[in-house]
Each structure stands twice: as C-alpha cells, then as structure tokens.
Symmetry: C2
Subunit: 231 residues, 2 copies
DNA sequence: CGTCTAATACTCGATTTCGAGTATTAGAGA
DNA sequence: TCTCTAATACTCGAAATCGAGTATTAGACG
C-alpha cells in the first residue's frame, strides 16, 4: 500500500478546502480555481470525484447532506472528520518538511542530449527559454497586481516559489545554450564529430560505439568509462 | 488517447538505450543505473516490463532473439525500429524545447501554509533546508569527482540542472523561514492571531471565517477578497 | 419568445502505474 | 564444501489516473 491511503495531491487540496467549511465536490473545484490553487495542485475532474470517494471510504470526510435544486443533479455536501483534519495536518507537515525525489522532464531530456545534433539542441533550448521567460513575466505581473491590491503575500508564497524555480531554469538553460553554441561545453567536440560522421558518412552512432578508437582516436579515453557494459 | 502512445518517461529511456545497441530489459535497467540516468528518470521494474511490451506493440521496438543461459529465465533481446528512432528524436525534441506544467509537492504545501502554526512551519522549512543542503553537497561532490576523472560535462548536464533547481529551492526556503520567524511576511499577523485564537480559546478556523470582522476587525479588509464564495 | 452559449455537475472505463513478491544463481566467506 | 547474501530477472494484480463525454440549465441576446 502507498504510504497514504489516498495519495493524489488533489486529495490534500480537498481536505484543505473542507477544513474551512463543508462543500460539495464541484464547489471545491471552483474554489480552488478562484484562489488559483489549481496552479499548484493539478485539478482534474476525473480525479476529483474518485478522490472524494476514496477519502470518504477511509473516513477522512463524510457526507453531510444531499440536496437537489430544481432539476440539477444531486449534490452531496461533504464535511471533514477529525481523522481527516489530522491527516491534513500530517500531510502538510510532510509536504513542507520532507523533500521528495522529483523527476523534471527537462532532466530526462538533458540526460540524452547527444541524441540530437548540438545546434538543434541549442535552438530548442532557446525556444524553451522564450517560453519560460514569458511565463516569468506573466507571474511577475500577477504578483504586482496582488501586491497592489494589498493581498497578503502569505497567500501566494507558492507562486513565489514557482517563480524562483522558473528563474533558476531560465538562467541555467540560457547558459547551457550559450556553452553549446560556443563549444565551451566539455564533450561537445565528440558530440559534433559523432553527428558529422552520421550526417556526412552515414555511420550510425551505434556503429561508432563499436569501434570508438577508429572514429575518435585516443583523445576520448573517457569513452572506456562509458562501458558498452559487456553482458 | 494520450499524446504519446507510450507516455511513461521510462519508455523514453528505453528508446534511448536501445538506440545505442540491442539489449534485454534487465540490461537496460542496469545500464541506466550504472550511468546514473535513474537519477533523472524514474526506474521501476514494474513499469519497465510493461513499457517494453507497450513499445513493442506500437512498433517502436522489436524482439530480436530470445536466449537462455543455463537455468536462468529467458531473456528477450530487443532492438529499436526506424519508427522507434523517430519517436525517440521527436520525444527528445519535445522534452527539451517545450516546457510542461510541473506540480512541485512543496508548492502544494506552500499553498496551504496557514494550516499549521507559523513557528511550526518555520521549523519544518528549516528541517527541509538541512536535507536540501545535504543533497546539494552530495551532488557537488559527485560533480567534482566526475570532473577530476575528466568525464565530460556533456554527460552530466542533467545533474547540473538538478543542482541549479535545488540551489534555488534552498535559497527560497531559507528566506521564507527567516521572514516567518521575523514576521516580515505580509499576512503573518493574521496567521499568528488565527492560531492564537484557536489554541488559546478553542475557536476553530472555520468559526473564525464565519465572522471575520469580529475576530480580526477591519484591518483585514482583503479577507472580503478571499470569498467564502456564497453558493 | 426562441435560440445559443457558457457554466454546472458530474460519469465512465480504458490505460497506466507501481510496489511487493518470487525464483534462481554466482560468488564470498567460514 | 556449505551457507548466505547480493544480484539477476522478472510477474502480478490492485489501485490510481485521466481525458473525453454527457446532460442539464440559467441567462444573454436578438
């Protein structure tokens, strides 16, 4: 079993919302939207209802009443239980106090950089940079507006944090793209050569790896250290 | 259907590995480990085999031979197909060039900060800070070692990127913890007061929200802006 | 007064995901 | 030579996930 009975982060948001007052699921979703919490916690309707059901099954929340207005579908109003309150506090404690291993998709991409030619990668990084910087602009503008409305920072620290991460990403990929363009990245000589061999002579990377000394000489001693791991 | 036929990032790593040479699944997993790629892409055995099957079903890879050594279980060696090669390049292009909305668990936590008392939160942030800084140390040491072995940076940019993000996280939570401790965070007066009311007089946050003016006066005009969203 | 759109309020089930378990064997050490 | 551990090489099914679809209705607009 997973560490938590209900592990979807949306369940955390549901508990957080219900600890304020009883609500029906759809109301939770609109509340999250209106407060922008859907920027920090992924809101998906499919998940919302299954998560609510799971929370109820585990005794963290309970149905309070089912009402029907006109011909609208029934709405079940839920309220949080004491164990639910406890679970929320415990979960929050963990989220803040304990880092977890995250896997950023860009990390996955960077791990396979040589899979595309250097200049193509630089181009893609610059493309990403534009998008990231645009997002930074947007968030900054939103912050300015919230500040001008005297809406306390306490309620948007999560967005500040996101901004800090985006800025770090921007800075890093900016540098990296430049280093690739200028060949300042250690290993790029090999990278360029491998792609040249492939594009001009049709020798595939797989073939190159079969006889590295032939294609790259002994300048690339470290290649012995990336072992084609004899099976 | 999801944008990709096989969307698990591990599938990307499988394609990347097989574009080097044919392998059997378990060999892929050991290769990923020995190169530290499992730090950038989540490796789970359960996922590995289902992902390989899915890749085969979609024509991205194909079984090349099935061998048996001694009494060991059979091992099926897979190789990448041309469409697989194409899919890999396309996926890599997307991973690098296009940012995706990520949901960092700490963001979720920060979005509900008032759910714990201010000093407790500061304490938790400091606890997290320690762990994050320890990780930064570890990664830095690993980088030093790779550099001293003259192992080209090209092959560990993903780890550099991760380090950049961790440093940004460290800086941010360091500041935030301090701002909470010193009450420099706008909104912390309200935060403290709410918890005091609860801890000393037993008035729950839910009750406080029912009559904000009574408990917080008109200093907190912005509270009208966090609407208990009349249903 | 009729039509259209946007918002309301969900449901469904096909995929995906994953952790925990299993069985075997090579080699280290006693 | 025996035992024990670590590594090898997977399997399985319970649970989670999610996007796309559906049905209703209030109110805008002509």
């Amino acid at each position: 079993m997973a560490r938590r009975k209900v592990s979807n982060p949306l369940a955390f948001a549901v508990l957080g919302s219900l600890s304020e007052r009883p609500m029906h699921p759809y109301e939770i979703s609109t509340l999250l939207r209106s407060r922008g919490k859907d920027q920090s916690i992924k809101l998906n309707y499919g998940s919302l209802y299954s998560v609510v059901t799971a929370l109820e099954k585990n005794g963290f929340i309970e149905a309070r009443e089912t009402i029907r207005e006109g011909n609208r579908p029934e709405r079940t109003i839920y309220q949080i239980t004491d164990t639910g309150q406890q679970e929320f506090a415990d979960w929050l404690t963990e989220l803040i106090g304990t880092p977890t291993r995250e896997f950023h998709p860009l990390e996955a991409g960077l791990a396979y950089l040589p899979g595309l030619p250097p200049d193509r990668v630089a181009e893609l990084l610059e493309q990403r940079l534009k998008a990231v910087d645009a997002e930074i602009e947007e968030i900054t503008a939103a912050h300015d507006q919230m500040a001008s409305m005297e809406f306390p920072r306490l309620f948007w620290v999560e967005s500040e944090f996101r901004l800090a991460l985006l800025k770090a990403e921007s800075t890093y990929i900016h540098h990296l793209a430049e280093e690739i363009r200028t060949d300042a990245l250690d290993g790029s000589a090999f990278w360029r050569k491998a792609w040249k061999l492939y594009e001009e002579e049709g020798i595939t990377p797989a073939d190159q790896l079969k006889d590295p000394v032939k294609y790259f000489g002994t300048d690339f001693a470290w290649m012995q250290a990336i072992p084609p791991e004899a099976t």
